[in-house]
C-alpha cells in the first residue's frame, strides 16, 4: 500500500453533473476543502442532455404562478407519493437557484420585458421552465463548471494554488464508499486512464451520480447512467426508497436503430407538437385519466385554442404527465396502430413555422436532420417510450440531503429519492438538482464542523484493492458486455413499462442468476483505459439496481406513476401511504414497507379537498393533514 495515491479532503463529491457541482460550490463557499470526482471528463455529465428547462415559479410569463401552484403540480405529477417536505423546499427555493445561476453568468432566453423567459411543460399549470432554446442542461452545467473555475481562481489568489481547496478528479471511478465504526471515512476508486487505485479520506461524502438508465435496453441515458451511487449507497448501509418507479419518457427516437432511445424533448409538445397514430388519429384524447379530466381538453378545437388563450381553455392532452403519455403510446403501438418502426408520429411542422422551429428547437432539428435524415420543419418524427429517469433513490433527510442511517453520507439529484414521488414532471429535474445540490453542500458543511476525521484502516484499503484486482485474476470467465446485454433484455422484457407479478418473479430469479455469473467476470487486456474492466464494475452496480427495482415492483400491488401493473391496474389509495425501502445485507436486497410521512395541515389545505379525495383514504381526508 506504500505506493497508493492518497488524498485527504473535508468532503468528496461523487459526480460532476448539476447536483454534484452545485453541492461542491456550496461546500467550498462554506469553507470546506472539496474533491469532485467524475467518471467522464469535466463538463460531460448527463445534465448536458437536459433540454427543456428548469422549473421555477418566478412568474415572469404568468404572474399567477407561485410556489404553492408549483408544489401542487409536483404532488399531482407524483400522484401524491412525493415526500411533501422535499416538494415544498423545491417549489419554494427553485426561483432563487435559477436567479443565482444568472448571477454566475448564465444567459437564459428572455421575455419581452427582459426577464428570464419561461415555457410550458407537461403537468405545469403555468409557463414555468427557464430555458435556453432546447439546450438548458448544457447552460446549467457550463455555468456551474465556470463557477467552479471562478472559485478556483479566487483560491489561487488567496492560497497561490488554484486546486488546493477545490479540485476536479476527472475520469476516475469510485468502487467503494469507505466506513469505519459506522461512519463515513472516505472513498476508494481507480483512475480510468491508468487503472491505478486512489484513496480519498474524508468525513463526508456526497453522492450525486445521477440515474440508472443503462440497466435498461432502450434508454436516453449515456453509458454513465449505471446506478453507481444507488449501489454504493446500498453497500454503505443506506436505503433506497421507491425503486419501482422509473420514468419512461414518452418520446425517444425510434429510428434508426443506433439512436433508439435518444430523447426528443417534451418542449416539442410544449411548443405545439401533436401525437398521431398510423391512422392519423390524434389519440391522446382517449387517454385522459379521470383525475385530470377537469384540466385537459377533450376535443381538438379546445386543445388548439389553448396555445393562444390559456385562461379560457383546458390544456392539450399531449401535455399530460409523462407516465400517462408513455402508457398511451405503448398501448397504441401494441394495438397495431404504430409506425413502421414501432413508434407513433410527433409532428410540430403543421403548427409552427420552420423559422420558429429552428429557433426554439435547434438541437432537435439538428439531431433529426443529422441522425435520422428527417427535417422536422417539414415532416413528422417517429417517437416511442425510452427509459429516462429513476424516481427512486437514496432515502434522505429533506432539509440536509443526509442519507438516512449513514452519518456523513449525503445524496442529491436523480440519485436521491422521494422528491418526485411516483412520477417526475419535466423541468423539475434541473431545479431539483440545484435546490438539493445546494442543500447537500450545506448539510455536509454542517456535518463536517462537528465530525472528527476518521482514519481508514489498512484492512479496509486492502479489501477495496482486492476487489478491483479480482476480474484480472480470473481467466476464461464471463464477458461483462454479454452479461450487460442479458440484464438489459431481462429488465426490458420483464420490468419495463407494463409489469405483472409472474414476470417480475421470473425477473428476480434471472437477475440473481446473472449476479452469480457476474462474480466470475474476467477481463482481457491491462488496466490502462480498459472499457471491459470499467464495465465489470458498472455491471455490479446495475445488478443491485435491477434487483431493488424488481423486488420493489413485485411488492407494490397497484399502478401509480412510473409503475404499472397489468395485474393491478388501479391506483389504490391505501398504497399511497406506503414507501418501499430497499436495503442490502451483503448478499441480497430486501424490500420492506414504510409509512409515508404525513402531509402537514398547511400543505394539505393548499388543495381542493375534492381533488385529494381521488388520492387519499376517507380517514386521511377527515383528518385533514398532520397538525
Amino acid at each position: 500500500m506504500t505506493n497508493l495515491e492518497r488524498h485527504s479532503y473535508d468532503v468528496v463529491v461523487i459526480g460532476a453533473g448539476g447536483a454534484g457541482l452545485r453541492a461542491a460550490v456550496e461546500a467550498r463557499e462554506a469553507g470546506l476543502r472539496v474533491a469532485i470526482i467524475c467518471k467522464s471528463l469535466f463538463g460531460k455529465a448527463h445534465t448536458v442532455m437536459a433540454e427543456g428547462g428548469a422549473a421555477a415559479s418566478m412568474g415572469n410569463v404568468n404572474e399567477n404562478d407561485n410556489w404553492q401552484v408549483h408544489f401542487r403540480d409536483t404532488m399531482r405529477g407524483g400522484k401524491f407519493l412525493n415526500h411533501y417536505r422535499m416538494a415544498e423546499l423545491h417549489a419554494k427555493e427553485s426561483p432563487d437557484r435559477v436567479w443565482e445561476l444568472e448571477q454566475w453568468g448564465a444567459l437564459f432566453d428572455r421575455t419581452a420585458e427582459g426577464k428570464i423567459s419561461q415555457r410550458n411543460f407537461g403537468g405545469h399549470e403555468y409557463p414555468r421552465l427557464a430555458h435556453v432554446g432546447d439546450r438548458t442542461g448544457l447552460e446549467l452545467i457550463r455555468t456551474m463548471q465556470q463557477r467552479i473555475v471562478a472559485l478556483q481562481q479566487k483560491d489561487g489568489k488567496t492560497y497561490q494554488s488554484m486546486e488546493s481547496h477545490l479540485k476536479v478528479f476527472a475520469e476516475l471511478t469510485v468502487t467503494e464508499i469507505l466506513k469505519e465504526d459506522g461512519k463515513i471515512a472516505g472513498v476508494y476508486g481507480y483512475w480510468r486512464e491508468t487503472g491505478a487505485e486512489v484513496l480519498f479520506e474524508a468525513p463526508a461524502v456526497i453522492i450525486a451520480t445521477g440515474g440508472v438508465g443503462k440497466t435498461f435496453k432502450i434508454t436516453s441515458n449515456s453509458w454513465e447512467g449505471t446506478g453507481d451511487g444507488h449501489a454504493l449507497a446500498l453497500k454503505a448501509g443506506a436505503n433506497l426508497v421507491d425503486m419501482e418507479f422509473l420514468q419512461f419518457h414518452p418520446t425517444g427516437m425510434v429510428w434508426p436503430p443506433s439512436v433508439r432511445g435518444i430523447l426528443v424533448t417534451e418542449s416539442v409538445r410544449g411548443e405545439g407538437g401533436v401525437l398521431t397514430n398510423n391512422k392519423g388519429e390524434r389519440f391522446m384524447f382517449k387517454y385522459i385519466p379521470d383525475v385530470f379530466k377537469d384540466k385537459y381538453a377533450d376535443n381538438e378545437e379546445e386543445a388548439d385554442r389553448w396555445y393562444t388563450d390559456q385562461d379560457n381553455n383546458r390544456r392539450p392532452p399531449e401535455l399530460l404527465p409523462r407516465d400517462e403519455v408513455a402508457r398511451a403510446i405503448n398501448t397504441e403501438v401494441k394495438a397495431g396502430r404504430g409506425t413502421e418502426h414501432g413508434g407513433v408520429f410527433l409532428d410540430v411542422s403543421k403548427r409552427i413555422s420552420a423559422e420558429i422551429i429552428k429557433k426554439r428547437l435547434p438541437s432537435m432539428w439538428h439531431q433529426f436532420y443529422e441522425l435520422a435524415g428527417v427535417d422536422i420543419t417539414k415532416e413528422a418524427m417517429e417517437v416511442g417510450p425510452t427509459c429516462h429517469y429513476v424516481m427512486g433513490g437514496v432515502e434522505v433527510e429533506p432539509d440536509t440531503a443526509a442519507a438516512v442511517g449513514v452519518p456523513g453520507l449525503f445524496a442529491a439529484g436523480e440519485v436521491a429519492g422521494g422528491m418526485h414521488g411516483s412520477n417526475r414532471l419535466g423541468g423539475n429535474s434541473l431545479s431539483d438538482l440545484l435546490v438539493f445540490g445546494r442543500r447537500a453542500g450545506m448539510g455536509a458543511a454542517e456535518y463536517v464542523k462537528s465530525a472528527k476525521p476518521v482514519a481508514v484502516s489498512d484492512a479496509t484499503i486492502k479489501a477495496a484493492g482486492d476487489r478491483i484486482e479480482a476480474p484480472f485474476s480470473r481467466s476464461g470467465g464471463e464477458n461483462s458486455y454479454s452479461l450487460h446485454a442479458e440484464l438489459q433484455e431481462i429488465t426490458h422484457n420483464l420490468v419495463g413499462i407494463i409489469r405483472t407479478g409472474s414476470e417480475l418473479k421470473e425477473a428476480i430469479e434471472k437477475i440473481a442468476e446473472i449476479r452469480k455469473r457476474s462474480a466470475n467476470v474476467s477481463v482481457a487486456g491491462g488496466r490502462k483505459f480498459n472499457p471491459g474492466f470499467h464495465l465489470a464494475f458498472d455491471l455490479d452496480n446495475m445488478l443491485l439496481v435491477a434487483e431493488s427495482t424488481a423486488k420493489s415492483a413485485i411488492s407494490r400491488e397497484e399502478s401509480r406513476g412510473g409503475h404499472t401493473r397489468d395485474d393491478f391496474p388501479q391506483l389504490d389509495n391505501k398504497w399511497r401511504q406506503i414507501n418501499h425501502i430497499a436495503s442490502f445485507n451483503g448478499t441480497e436486497v430486501s424490500v420492506r414497507k414504510q409509512t409515508l410521512p404525513e402531509i402537514p395541515k398547511e400543505l394539505f389545505d393548499l388543495f381542493d379537498v375534492h381533488e385529494l379525495e381521488k388520492y387519499m383514504t376517507p380517514e386521511e381526508i377527515t383528518k385533514g393533514g398532520a397538525r
Binding site: K44, M49, M58, G105, G114, Q153, S363, Y481, F529, P531
Partner: protein
Amino acid sequence: MARKLKMRIWRGDADSGALQDVTVEANEGEVVLDVIHRVQATQMGDLAVRWNCKAGKCGSCSMEINGKPRLACMTQVASYGDEETITVTPLRAFPVIKDLVTDVSFNYRKAMEIPSYKPPANLKPGEARMEQIDVERSQEFRKCIECFLCQDTCHVIRDHEENKKSFAGPRFFIRIAELDMHPLDMLKNRKQKAQEEHGLGMCNITKCCTEVCPEHIRITDNAIIPMKERVVDVKYDPVRWLGTKIRKREGIV
C-alpha cells in the same frame, strides 16, 4: 441491410502504436461510434474510446475520421462509399493516452486561465434585465460543447507543441468573446488580454476551426475577427492609444 465494413483503427499508447485492420458489421443508419462499439464488444474488449451522450451534445467522442476531426456519434457510416475503408485515429493535437483517447487536459488548464464572469456589484437576484437580441450574441458561443475539435484542427498548435504555452485556442477565444459580449459583464479589458495573454494575435483566420465545429458556431467571423478588429483599432489609432496612456483606462471599451 447489414454490410461488412472495413475499418482501420489506431491502437497503441504514448510509446508506440499502429493502425489495425478490422472488418465489422454495419447496419443501416449507424454512425461510426456504433461500429466502434461493435468492434469493442465483439473483437477488442479493451479498445479505448471516449463517449457519453451519443447525440452530439456532450462533445466526448472527438476523433479523426479519415483524417478529419469529427464527432464519431454524428458521423454516418453511409456518408462514406460502400467500398471505402474508414480509418479512425486519435486527435493529433493532444498526447495519446490509449487508442482513440487523448489527454485533453491542455484545454482545462486554459479554461482556468480565462478571467471569470464579473457581475455588476449591486445587482440583486432576479433583477437582471436583458434583451433577447443582446443575449443571443453570447448564446451562440455558449452552444459550445467543448469537443475541442477546433483546438485539434488549429494549425497554430496542431503541429506546434511550442505554441501551446502562449495560445489558448479557438474554444477559449469564443469564451472570451462570449464574456466580452455578455450584456452584464463588468470586466473591461477582455479583448486586450486575449491579445496579450492568450495569443489571439497568433491566429491568422484560416477558419479551420469554424469548419470543424459540430455546433456550427461561427468562431472566426463572430468571435475572433470582431475581437481582432477592436484590438487593432485601439492599438494602432494614435489618438486612442494616447488616450489609454493619459487617462489610464482599464482597457478597451
